[in-house]
């Protein structure tokens, strides 16, 4: 919310110095009405999800009302029991483990690679950097099957390694690029000063550069968490024991279910699966929005 207040504050001062803009008020009202109307449509599916998760089975279908006739909290207790005899807590733990591992891996490996690309000189830096950028556009499917074969040979299918290990090897080039862009904006004098003080590249990375790169690292961490949490495809191909399932995969078992009686519990579980993202969003929206806005589009 800091951004909102910042912009408002700026706008207020400009309004004070430029009263000429006041006659435009009706246009502004129209803008707000339009934005609010759009927002209502946008948020309807989320409201519907929340409402449906609390509805009794017979009200789910053929009812436009968002407010349930009676609150059916048992949907949530059914959801907590989980799927295939695996409790929601276990599924939640699995999801957290994978997302947490991915966050640590990406922040570590991507910042190391980014520092080399942004600040150090080495042979083939240009071509390697170009290759790194190109892998951002590379469809995951082009490497998917051999990766699966490799992890299969290593006996790692149906474990979490295929989901976490690649993150420790900086395979998400998007984040390397994001951190490179950020590091390039830091003044070089800092490292020169550190070098005069006797810091080698490692100490100046850990003591000088890394702390200053914190905003980019936080953006990387949050996006990695949310994208890993939402990821479905990789989990679908690598995990098949129900007790190793994540929340996303457990929801999958509802995909085939055609009976509408499971609607309430299914959407209760959907809410539980969305909750961490919503919390992350509310807590870190400034980083998220700015991280997205700054993702390499500055000319």
């Amino acid at each position: 919310m800091t951004t909102a207040t910042d912009t408002d504050a700026k706008a207020d001062t400009s309004a004070a110095t430029a009263p000429v803009r006041a006659p435009l008020a009706p246009r502004r009202v129209a803008l707000h009405l339009g934005a609010l109307a759009a927002l209502l449509v946008m948020l309807y599916p989320l409201a519907w999800l929340l409402a449906t998760s609390l509805k009794p089975a017979d009200e789910v279908i053929a009812s436009l009302d968002l407010l349930p006739g009676s609150l059916e909290w048992s949907n949530y207790s059914t959801a907590l029991d989980g799927v295939n005899d695996v409790s929601v807590w276990r599924l939640l733990g699995n999801s957290l483990l994978i997302a947490g591992g991915a966050v640590v891996g990406n922040v570590l490996s991507c910042s190391l690679a980014a520092y080399a690309f942004a600040r150090l000189r080495f042979r083939f830096r240009g071509p390697l950097f170009a290759f790194m950028i190109a892998t951002i556009m590379l469809p995951h499917h082009a490497v998917l099957i051999p990766q699966y074969i490799i992890f299969n040979q290593l006996g790692m299918v149906n474990t979490y390694w295929p989901l976490i290990l690649p993150k420790f090897l900086a395979t998400d080039a998007f984040f390397v690029f994001l951190i490179v862009q950020f590091m390039r904006g830091l003044p070089r004098e800092l490292e020169e000063a550190a070098r005069i003080d006797g810091c080698g590249p490692f100490r100046s990375f850990f003591l000088v550069i890394l702390p200053l790169t914190r905003p980019a690292l936080i953006t990387t961490a949050i996006f990695t968490f949310i994208w890993t949490w939402n990821d479905f495809f990789t989990q679908l191909i690598y995990l098949f024991s129900p007790e190793k399932f994540t929340l996303t995969l457990a929801l999958r078992s509802f995909v085939d279910a055609s009976s509408t009686s499971a609607f309430g519990p299914m959407f209760a579980m959907s809410v539980i699966a969305l909750l961490p993202i919503v919390l992350f969003f509310l807590a870190f929206q400034r980083f998220l929005v700015e991280g997205m806005a700054n993702s390499g589009i500055k000319g």
Partner: protein, 314 residues
Amino acid sequence: MTTTTTEQTATASAARTAPAKRPGGRRREGAAWVFLSPWVLGAAVLTLLPMAVSLYLSFTDYDLFNPPRWVGLRNYTQMFTEDPRYWRSVGATLTYVVIAVPLQLALALVVALGLKSMRRGRGFYRSAFYAPSLLGASMSIALVWRALFNDGGTVDNLFGTGGWVNRPGWALLAVALLTVWQFGAPMVIFLAGLQQIPTELYEAASVDGASRWRQFLSITVPMLSPVIFFNLVLQTIQAFQVFTPAFAVSGGKGGPADSTLFYTLYLYDRGFVASHMGYASAMAWVLLIVIGAVTAVLFRTSRTWVFYASEGDR
């Protein structure tokens, strides 16, 4: 004074052309490779090697259990000439890309323009419109979408359209609308781009009597064109690879009548359900080439319409 400056420039340029001669240059080169080592390992073992292997596998028959059997171009000829489902998946994907990406970007731009001229609440709206971009990729929302567009779902009740997800053609549109709903990410990027256009340009145009529409066409679009291009490339590449919503809407089958059998869904079906890894590899390589070609075409045409204000100092 003049001599010293020249000397300084000379040493500076010498240092620039021969960085290895600097004291400690060797050590720094070594350090660079240490920093780079996880990435190098990942690029070699999880990117380059798999690309080569998947190219090789695309010429084989391989089921994960028996050794790959070389079949030459068989997978490709089968794909292009004997597999109607393959072409249906191509058709579904292209239709989806052509519907979803322009709609999503147009909406993103319109909303960004609206928010740009707002004084109050811009930050709030920006965050609120962005939220679906994060939530929408989840299985939870894909399931909501299926219910909303199903028989008796909200859309059916409001417009009497029947269950979109059960009707060929309409199911695809439902998935496309889910993508359009996530216009927040490109919108945020548009908004950042709009805020970098100098206001003097608009002021000068107003003085010259240019209409708002004229200002949009002659100032906003050219000044924003690098950002439009960036969003177009990014969203197109992503759209080609969409998977989760199609899987959820169609119960993993790509139905009705293969209308949501997106390319990646069919690739998953061939590789991981039917165990035709060679065939799936061939599909992956065609996808790689198509995405590469589309990106190349976008880059090539961009020369005619993307305008870089700061071309000089690039």
